[in-house]
């Protein structure tokens, strides 16, 4: 049976993932030319590498179409309902670090915490004739964090597929839930992360699709321990 490992198909994520695999003694080579979307790991039979976009990797892991994948935890938790039942994060790889955060206009000097935001959300409809709006591409993470963790239900999500940080200034939404690594984009847009507004501290992870046949497959355990050893 062929094991499929999905790696990011481009950019820093691709280079960093291949570098970690190389340190683990797993040399990834593309089949055909460098731009190919198929690869193999040298010296190991029956392991296939698929180069996919990071969000596709999360989805394919959830569907069990690939056995392993390197992708961001944010994408795993956003794409998959009850992610922990379907996949296992076997190693945190130390790159691609970014936080999913709740950020409000910095001038909202009265809003420091999620409790403050809860107050504002509760009154919003009365004051403005509409619910508080949140621009985000993270529907699931936002809903879990607001409703389950903080009991805030009265808001609306405005889907944002890019330049989310510009939504409050442009009037497209009141606040945002977005990913940030240094926070500089938020600051440049006069946004501020709430004191308890970090939803998830994400980084690239080696993720395994939970499949029963993995238990008896020595290659699975070997791959995990090789990558873990490379992380030192």
């Amino acid at each position: 049976m062929t094991l499929t490992v999905a790696l990011p198909s481009k950019g820093r994520m691709k280079d960093d993932a291949i570098a970690i695999f190389a340190r683990a003694g797993l040399t990834v080579s593309a089949i055909g030319n460098d731009r190919s979307y198929r690869g193999r790991i040298e010296g190991i039979e029956d392991v296939e590498v698929a180069f996919l976009s990071a969000s596709e990797i999360a989805r394919e892991l959830g569907a069990g179409a690939v056995d392993f994948g390197v992708t961001g935890e944010d994408l795993v938790r956003e794409s998959l309902a009850r992610a922990d039942e379907r996949v296992e994060i076997t190693a945190r790889l130390g790159f691609g670090n970014a936080d999913v955060v709740v950020a409000v206009p910095d001038i909202w000097k009265d809003v420091d915490s999620m409790a403050d935001l809860g107050d504002v959300a509760a009154d919003f409809r009365t004051r403005h004739g509409r619910r508080l709006t949140i621009a985000t591409k993270y529907w699931r993470l936002t809903q879990n964090f607001f409703s389950t963790r903080h009991g805030i239900q009265l808001y609306r999500i405005v889907e944002s597929l890019g330049a989310t940080e510009g939504a409050p200034a442009s009037g497209a939404a009141d606040i945002i839930v977005d990913i940030t690594s240094t926070g500089s984009t938020l600051t440049a847009n006069h946004l501020r992360i709430l004191s308890d507004g970090v939803i998830l501290r994400s980084e690239a992870c080696l993720v395994r699709a939970r499949k029963a046949e993995h238990d008896a497959d020595p290659r699975v355990a070997a791959l995990i321990s090789a990558v873990r050893a490379a992380l030192g």
Binding site: A115, V120, Y155
Partner: protein, 373 residues
Amino acid sequence: MPQAGLPEFATDLARALDALAAARVDIPVIQPAEPFLDMAGEDLRRRIFLTESETGESLCLRPEFTIPVCSAHIAENVATPRRYSYLGQVFRQRRDGANEFYQAGVEDLGEPDEARADARALSEARALIAEFAPAKNLSIILGDQSVFEAVVAGLGLPAGWQKRLIHAFGNEQALNAMIARLANPDSAAQPDASVAGFLANGDVDGLEAHIEEVMQQTGYSTNASRSPAEIAARLIGKQALDATRLSPGSLDALKAFLALDVPLDRAASALSDFARDAGLDISAAQSAFKARLNALSERGEDLGAIRWRAAFGRPLDYYTGLVFEISAGSDNLVLAGGGRYDRLMTLLGAHDPIPAVGFSLWLDRIQTVRAGQ
């Protein structure tokens, strides 16, 4: 196998509903999704069946009847008081049970005698359950947000804290977190340096002007979202909120109230004992509560068979007073639920406030109980 069709008792149930003097309404299965998401929040998005029209309008399969029945009433501009009944399929993604099931119920709009309307809703629901799900171990729980509101007001908390607590009412986890904060405020929070001076001097106008200036400099519209005046006012109010600490006595009173759980025939005396012990004047809420008890007794309801649980509520902002649930069996399968939602009609666009109370029955669960007999 879950049955997708109408349960066999539906014909008899329809006849029983018709006897309740409530006009039967026929609500289209496909509904605009907006009002449901707007009233119940984004949480509902995961549980409804959404689609989009050709022109991009969000549509859904009706997840419940109350909102479309109320919207239809407003659109048709019908005189009140008026009662509606419904019986039909609803569509919701559930972890347990089928995604399409039947509900029936009554909405009672515009009845000025609230005690009478409350009692009627509970009593009709109870009678329908008794007829169609004749289980021996039925339990009926009643809650009342307006009593909680009176208690919170009586404790002399700042308005902002009253709102927080009332908003969290019905969500035990959120309410406990609020109470913990009230007992032990976070004194480390300091206002931002850029506004601390205005706050220290009580300079409201200066604060507002400062906020407006910053918003203009940073390209934020002053009227698209929260205005400078709103931010300034809340910043000043927040000083008081952050500093509020509930005295041990008041904290005990709040906890004692939330722990009240007694049969309804002893509820009035439990409530007046509580008010006396806590030294609170909640007499207006007490009389409204008693009026409902009397109305229930007049309808022949057995108050000893209903429990009043002071902490029982629904954390949605349109519920205002009575809530109740009728459940059966050891696993407390909820067969009927109801409540008063006086704020819903204006939220949905009614010009004037319209008092409203209603209940709905879960036909699939009633069928389960019947099958177990």
